[in-house]
Amino acid sequence: MSTETLEKEVKEVKKTSEPLLSKKRKALLTNPLDEDNPITIQVLGICSALAVTVALKPTLVMAIAVTAVLVLANVVISALRNTIPNRIRIIVQLVVVASLVAIVDQVLKAYSYDVWKELSVFIGLIITNCIVMGRLEAFALGNKPWDAMLDGLGNSFGYAWIILAIAFFRELTGSGKLFGVKVLPDGYIGNGVMMSPAGACILLGILIWVIRSRNGYVED
């Protein structure tokens, strides 16, 4: 028994002596941007990717909100990972995430009311955003808080750049604007297809095509 704990301690010491940004940890941060992207490869968090990306501004706010929730939830769950009973872990995770989302919702309502109005139910739906639950289940429950934080940051950046790319094309072609400022000449007639969620679906399909033909990922 005592040797076991001793070994464990030695292991712990070894682990903490790992540099804060070792190669493995850098991979946690950079992999989700491309070859392990939450949207295009892991197929998580699609609902909000399609629904909020009509314009860049709400999309940016959504990306920041998801980053805040995912990083904090990852750290909290990872810190609690040894005390959560396995059987009720889903409910514990949901409660932690729901509390964080309630805070984010109130902050947005206070400081950015217009965007909060525009995003309406989709702030609340961060709770069931599969990226959050997926990362909690797959990573935070088995890793230390610092690693979990890096994983959260990496995945939310991977999510953010995809939804920002979609929003960029949708706002540009749909209304000729970027961040609400007109960039295309006055004669440009907005493309209604791009404003509808169906257009977002097709755009995301094409984006996935481009990304996968670049990094060579093939399904099945």
Binding site: G45, C47, A198, C201
Partner: protein, 236 residues
């Protein structure tokens, strides 16, 4: 009755959970590879939506809404617990799903084998929580909320079953390699969404957006009023 029929048809076809709001996409894409599993999950979603939406309606109208606690005492008329709606809604959904799973496992093992494995997935299905979160923005009666829940579930069922049917046929198509799987599925979903749009009487998406905005403005006015009240309380 006409009103109920209206809500029912609207929630199945026009405001379809998948094609109009894109809620529940993760499990929609994940289980639509085979027709049989898709039908199983679709059934489970109808069942869970049909029960949790009325439950959440009760929670919202008798617990969370401003002045909802007056049935306990008149003194509580100014209490507004809407901040807690996320936690309450998700707790109700998760608890109900867990209970159903246990009940089904005990009383009907055959149903559990066909449906049971999908039940835990449903707790984190956006369409369930999304449906509940629509409740505060729409002034439904109890029976209307029940109709809305059932209709949304049936709409989700139709969407998932039809996508699964298409994807089974897709197995024989020669799709470019990087587009296989997720990519082509998205494009199909987009095209199906265009098809479902025609149920809106061939309305252009602009018009839908205007209607949504009108709805949003209405709700924001309500919340502004609420804010004014709370600010007034604060300054006192």
């Amino acid at each position: 009755m006409e009103n109920l029929l209206n809500i029912f048809v609207k929630s199945i076809f026009i405001d379809n959970m998948i094609f109009a709001y894109f809620l529940g996409m993760c499990s929609y894409l994940a289980v639509s590879k085979k027709y049989k599993t898709a039908a199983g999950l679709g059934m489970a979603v109808i069942f869970v939506l049909g029960i949790t939406i009325p439950l959440n309606w009760l929670a919202y109208n008798f617990l969370l809404k401003e002045g909802a606690l007056t049935w306990i005492s008149e003194d509580f008329a100014s209490i507004d617990l809407e901040v807690l709606k996320f936690i309450v809604f998700i707790a109700i959904v998760a608890a109900f799903v867990q209970l159903t799973e246990m009940a089904v496992e005990k009383f009907s093992p055959s149903l559990y084998n066909s449906l049971g494995i999908f039940l835990p997935l449903i707790a984190v299905n956006c369409s369930i929580l999304g449906g509940a979160l629509f409740l505060p923005t729409r002034d439904y009666e109890f029976i209307e909320a029940l109709t809305f829940g059932l209709g949304s579930g049936i709409g989700w069922f139709l969407a998932v079953v039809s996508l699964a049917a298409i994807r089974e046929k897709m197995a024989y198509a020669d799709v470019p390699k990087p587009l296989r799987g997720l990519g082509i599925t998205f494009i199909i979903v987009g095209l199906m969404a265009f098809g479902f749009m025609s149920f809106g009487g061939f309305e252009l998406p602009f018009k839908n957006k205007e209607q949504q905005q009108a709805e949003l403005e209405k709700t924001s006015q309500d919340t502004e009023n609420v804010e004014e009240v709370s600010v007034a309380n604060f300054s006192e």
